[in-house]
Each structure stands twice: as structure tokens, then as C-alpha cells.
């Protein structure tokens, strides 16, 4: 099936923010909002819950650190214990730097790839921009028209005070507005 959505375009982030609050107060379902830069407070306004990517990062980091520490111990003391300048077989201090670097490396790559994963970002992904300027200087609010007490005119009335530039209906294929 296909959805009918309503795109409201604004010029300033504050307008978008206020509009979002207003719409949610009115109990309408917000599909998404599109902004040229990270608008502070928008996620809270839209009621998005904080990302769990921090955990991914932490787990990757720990894996890196512990894994490398163990590997270094295994190499230095178990696999082939070689006398290097009379240092102990397993010399922890000298193992720290490499372990740390590995931790950072895995944590960094882990979280970035997780981001690309959850946001479904990948090379060659086709985007049908709702509006050319959404990556330039326009702010777009996308509302779902399918719910019961929805009426375009009402919504327009609701949004006009926030310097609404234009309101557009669009039919998009199932699976979001991208």
C-alpha cells in the first residue's frame, strides 16, 4: 500500500522546533523532519529516544583492549617466550600502549559502522530528496495523513503561525519518505 504524507517547509530552525512541538501537542503523528544541519533540541521535541550507539562503542573498545592485552601476553610469555633485554616475559607496562590503540581503533570503527548500519547509509544508496534545498537551507516536517482525525486544512491552520513557507501533499511508497 502507499502512504499520503504532508510536507511542511520552514525557513528557520526555531519555526520547525515550535511547529514540531505544536503538532505533537495536537497529537498528530510526525513521520520525520529533515534539516540542513543538526538542530539542537529537535530530537527531544520529536520525542526520539537517545541512541544506544554508545554501548556499541563501549563494547567494541573493551573487546579491543582486552583482546590485545591477552594477545600480547600470549605472544610474549606463551607462544614463544624470547628474552628481550632481560625484560620479564609478560611486561604489562609495555603492553598498554598497543592495547589502548587497538581499543580506540575498534571503538571508533565499531560505532561508525553501527551508525551507517542503523541509518541504512551505504554507497550507491538512491535518495529521492523531498526538496532540493533540504540539504541547503530548508527545514521540512513530514506528517502522516493516514491517521483518523487528520485534516489538511486544520494542520495548515496549525502551522501557519510558524512562518510556514509551503505545504505539500505527496504520495510515497510504503517504507518511509526517503
Amino acid at each position: 500500500m502507499s502512504d499520503r504524507v504532508l510536507l511542511a517547509t520552514f525557513e528557520h530552525e526555531e519555526d520547525l522546533l515550535d511547529a514540531v512541538r505544536e503538532v505533537r501537542r495536537a497529537g498528530h503523528k510526525i513521520l520525520d523532519a529533515f534539516t540542513p544541519y543538526a538542530v539542537h533540541g529537535l530530537d527531544r521535541a520529536m520525542g526520539l529516544r537517545p541512541s544506544r550507539l554508545t554501548w556499541v562503542c563501549f563494547i567494541c573498545g573493551m573487546t579491543g583492549a582486552l583482546g590485545m592485552l591477552w594477545f600480547e601476553y600470549w605472544v610474549g610469555a606463551l607462544a614463544w617466550a624470547v628474552d628481550v633485554g632481560g625484560k620479564p616475559w609478560n611486561s604489562l607496562p609495555s603492553n598498554v600502549p598497543v592495547a589502548f590503540e587497538t581499543a580506540v581503533l575498534l571503538a571508533g570503527f565499531g560505532s561508525v559502522f553501527a551508525l551507517l548500519g542503523v541509518c541504512r547509509l551505504f554507497p550507491g544508496k538512491q535518495v529521492r530528496p523531498l526538496l532540493e534545498r533540504v540539504t541547503d537551507d530548508r527545514f521540512v516536517l513530514v506528517l502522516d495523513q493516514t491517521d483518523a482525525q487528520f485534516s489538511a486544512t486544520q494542520v495548515e491552520a496549525m502551522l501557519r503561525p510558524f512562518n510556514l513557507l509551503e505545504l505539500e501533499e505527496r504520495v510515497v511508497a510504503a517504507g518511509g519518505v526517503e
Binding site: 528557520h12 539542537h40 554508545t54 605472544v75 571508533g108 561508525v112 551508525l115 551507517l116 554507497p123 540539504t135
Partner: protein, 459 residues
């Protein structure tokens, strides 16, 4: 409720202007100035390539090294470039964590500079090997030697991990920051091929609020990771020397000393590039005198830390009562290489003191000259540390002199060639200013007033 923002971007720019101004250099054909610079840089690069090829074909003997001075230009250049590479991450990560909004205009190019500098640095550990084609032996890979791994006790191996991690993380950091801008380019560019390339590179970025919120999180995480990383990397580099027995190397203050020095030199290089860049690319409104001044303040503080370190070294040597240690420092200041030592001191400690004065901080020409001096001085710092410590160590019988050969000088020139060639290409093909971030810190224009009823409802 509306927070007051300082004027970071002058000229009353609105988001659309930002996009236009920043994309302009990419869209118009390169200026004669750019071509000139590019020609110069690439020539230097070619010279360097020839020199390195000759050296790899003939042997390390084509450098002026000897049985006593085993490192000189090679590792000096290495440490120098790694140092340069530190400012980028500092500006983008550390200042990000400290919520220094002014960073937004410079972080993109600073990060690019970091990447390129680290690449330049990474070359030297490889070409300084007697058998560079065996460089992969530094990697702990399973082998048929039963099974012989690598020496995790060697600071040089820490370097391998440190530098490569730093390179990769900075690259990711830079690229992630670039995503929204690439999307912008994709959406606005007329030429189909640029549209296509930007389309692929931007990974289908569409500015959705959900993506933005996760993006912010990850960016914060990366900043959080990059900050300790940047300190660890140069600490590790300093341990190449600090863990050695050679007097003048065997010093516990090296890690902070090196990190400060690295940031110092990095800022100087950023300044050099920014001052040229803002002129040639008409970005004065984005990289304002204010930006330059705040970087000058940072640089001054770093310069003072470095100066303090120089002093500390001497004090500790005197305090230690270790005659070898004491001799090395006396030899630095008064020995055969005193010229290098005093060049270093004057460039790194004396000259930057001018920056105490607001007048000089805000005088572009002066700042430019100072930044050049600092670059020179920081190169000599590494040279002094490496060569003067080595050339007269414990046994007087094996004291030796050092003088670079033409090959070494050409290699140094080549590394600068590589650096500037890459940077010029970056300026040509990438947005030198993080548009998405700058848009976020623009001064907000007047808003049309809203109906009171709304207000009332809201209240």
C-alpha cells in the same frame, strides 16, 4: 529561551550564502594562483619521489648517517609531520568537547591537514628502513616461523599501531564530518559526474532528524575517542626516545613535552594554511580575525609550555648529577650543533612571545610570519633532540659528526611537496569549511513575531 550566540561568522550570512560561498571554489575553475601553487608543490613532490627511489635503489648509505648517528632527517621529519598532524584532531575533537564553537570554520581543513600530515609522517618510518620491502614484518601476522611474532616491548612497534590507528580514526572522523556537506554538494551540483560521485560518497545522506540525532552521538563519541588518541600518539612517539638509554633521550618529561610541541607546530601550520586559504578562497567572513586570534592564544600557551620543557630538561640534567646527562645538554647549547639549538629556542620560545600583544595577534601579516618561524623552530627541535643526543654519547671514541646529503634534503622537500599537493587538491575538490556546522552557528536573523494567543497557549 533563545540563547545568545557570539558573532562567529561576519557579513550577516544566511545558510544559503554559506552553501554558495563554500561551494564556490569547487564550482569555479581554479585560479592562476592555485595552479602556480600546485605546480610548485608537485615539482617538490617529484623531486622527493626521485630522491626516495634513488635511496631505496642504492641503500640508506645515500643519507649522511653513520655508525653513531643512525637517525637524523628521517625521524626528524617523521616526528615533525606527526606533530603537524595533531592540531587537526585537537581543533575538531578537543575543542568540540569544550564546546568551542569557533572551531567550526577551521576544523574541516585542519582535519584534512591532519590526514595529509600523518600520511607524510607515515612514509618516513618505512623509507628509513634498511629493507623497506620487509616493512610488513612489523605486523603481527601468523607465519611459518614457528610462530615468531613481533616485539611488543619495542616503542617502534607502538608507533606502528599508534600512527596507523591515528590515521584511520582521523580519516573516519573527517569523513563522517564530511557526510552532510557531500549531500549538499550532491543536491546542488549541476554537473552529472560530480552529482554521481558526491551521491556515492554521501552514502545517501538525507538530513533526516533521526539520522542527525544518531550522527551527533557518534560524532561526540569519535571526539571522545580522538582526544585521548591524539595525546597517546605523540606520547608514544616521544617514548621512542624516552625509553632509550641515550642521554638527552632518556627523559621522563618527553610525553607532555612532545604533545605540547606537536599541538604547537600543528597550530602554526593550520594558521599558515588558513591565512593563505581565507585570502585565496575569499573566506574572510568565515575565518575571521577572531578565529586567528583565538588560535594565536592557543599557540602562545603551547609555546610557553614548550619553553618550560626546554628549561626543565636543563634543570633536571643539572639536578640529576649525572655527568653524561649534563654533558649532553651543555653540548647542545655550546657544542657543534649549538646553531641548531639556538635556532630552535629563538623560533619556538622568543618569537611567539609577541603574541602576548593583541595588536600582533590581530595583525594577519605578523601572525603569518610567526607561524612560519614556529614551523621552522619545531622542525629544528626534533633535529636537535635526535642528532645532538646521538652524535656524542657515552664513549668518546665513537663520537661522530653529521651532515645531510642532497638526497636527504630532497626527501624533506618532497615531503612538503606531498603535503601541499594533497592539500591543494583537497581545497579544490572538497568543502574547506564544514557547512552543516557553520550553518548551525550562524547568527539568527529576526523572526516574524508570533500571535500572542499561541504564546498564551504555550504558557
Amino acid at each position: 529561551m533563545a540563547t545568545l550566540r557570539p558573532t562567529l561568522i561576519t557579513g550577516g550570512k544566511v545558510p544559503a550564502d554559506v552553501t554558495r560561498d563554500v561551494c564556490a571554489p569547487m564550482e569555479r575553475s581554479p585560479t592562476a594562483l592555485w595552479w602556480g601553487a600546485f605546480l610548485l608543490a608537485s615539482t617538490a613532490l617529484i623531486v622527493g619521489v626521485v630522491a626516495v627511489t634513488y635511496q631505496i635503489a642504492m641503500g640508506i648509505g645515500t643519507w649522511g648517517l653513520n655508525r653513531t648517528v643512525g637517525w637524523a632527517f628521517d625521524i626528524t621529519n617523521f616526528v615533525f609531520w606527526v606533530g603537524i598532524g595533531h592540531a587537526g584532531t585537537l581543533i575538531s575533537a578537543v575543542l568540540f568537547l569544550f564546546r568551542q564553537k569557533w572551531r567550526t570554520s577551521v576544523n574541516r581543513s585542519a582535519e584534512a591537514m591532519t590526514l595529509i600530515a600523518v600520511v607524510c609522517a607515515g612514509l618516513f618510518p618505512v623509507i628509513h628502513m634498511g629493507r623497506p620491502w620487509l616493512a610488513f614484518w612489523m605486523a603481527p601476522y601468523p607465519n611459518t616461523r614457528g610462530s615468531l611474532w613481533v616485539n611488543f616491548k619495542s616503542p617502534l612497534l607502538w608507533d606502528v599501531f599508534g600512527i596507523s590507528t591515528y590515521l584511520l580514526i582521523s580519516a573516519v572522523f573527517w569523513y563522517v564530518g564530511l557526510l552532510p556537506d557531500l549531500a549538499t554538494i550532491r543536491d546542488r551540483s549541476k554537473s552529472p559526474w560530480r552529482r554521481r560521485v558526491a551521491g556515492i560518497l554521501s552514502l545517501g545522506w538525507n538530513g533526516s532528524a533521526r539520522t542527525w540525532s544518531r550522527y551527533e552521538t557518534v560524532y561526540m563519541l569519535l571526539a571522545g575517542l580522538a582526544t585521548p588518541l591524539v595525546f597517546s600518539v605523540h606520547s608514544i612517539v616521544s617514548m621512542d626516545f624516552a625509553t632509550a638509554v641515550i642521554p638527552g633521550w632518556h627523559t621522563t618529561i618527553f610525553p607532555p613535552y612532545f604533545v605540547a610541541g606537536a599541538i604547537f607546530s600543528g597550530l602554526a601550520m593550520v594558521l599558515t594554511l588558513m591565512i593563505i586559504g581565507r585570502k585565496t578562497m575569499q573566506l574572510e567572513n568565515y575565518i575571521t580575525v577572531g578565529h586567528i586570534e583565538s588560535m594565536c592564544k592557543l599557540m602562545l600557551s603551547m609555546g610557553c609550555i614548550v619553553g618550560l620543557a626546554y628549561g626543565t630538561e636543563f634543570f633536571i640534567a643539572a639536578f640529576s648529577g649525572n655527568p653524561y646527562e649534563q654533558f649532553v645538554f651543555l653540548n647542545r647549547a655550546l657544542g657543534p650543533f649549538s646553531w641548531a639549538y639556538w635556532t630552535m629556542v629563538s623560533c619556538n620560545v622568543l618569537v611567539p612571545q609577541l603574541l602576548w600583544f593583541r595588536f600582533f595577534r590581530r595583525n594577519i601579516a605578523v601572525v603569518f610570519v610567526i607561524s612560519i618561524f614556529v614551523n621552522i623552530g619545531m622542525w629544528f627541535e626534533r633535529f636537535v633532540i635526535i642528532v645532538t643526543s646521538l652524535h656524542r654519547d657515552f664513549l668518546p671514541s665513537s663520537w661522530a659528526d653529521y651532515a645531510p646529503t642532497s638526497i636527504e634534503i630532497a626527501t624533506l622537500a618532497g615531503s612538503f611537496g606531498l603535503f601541499f599537493t594533497c592539500f591543494l587538491l583537497f581545497c579544490r575538490f572538497f568543502p574547506v569549511i564544514a557547512m552543516a556546522e557553520v550553518k548551525g552557528v550562524l547568527e539568527k536573523p529576526r523572526r516574524a513575531p508570533k500571535q500572542d494567543s499561541e504564546q498564551g497557549d504555550a504558557a
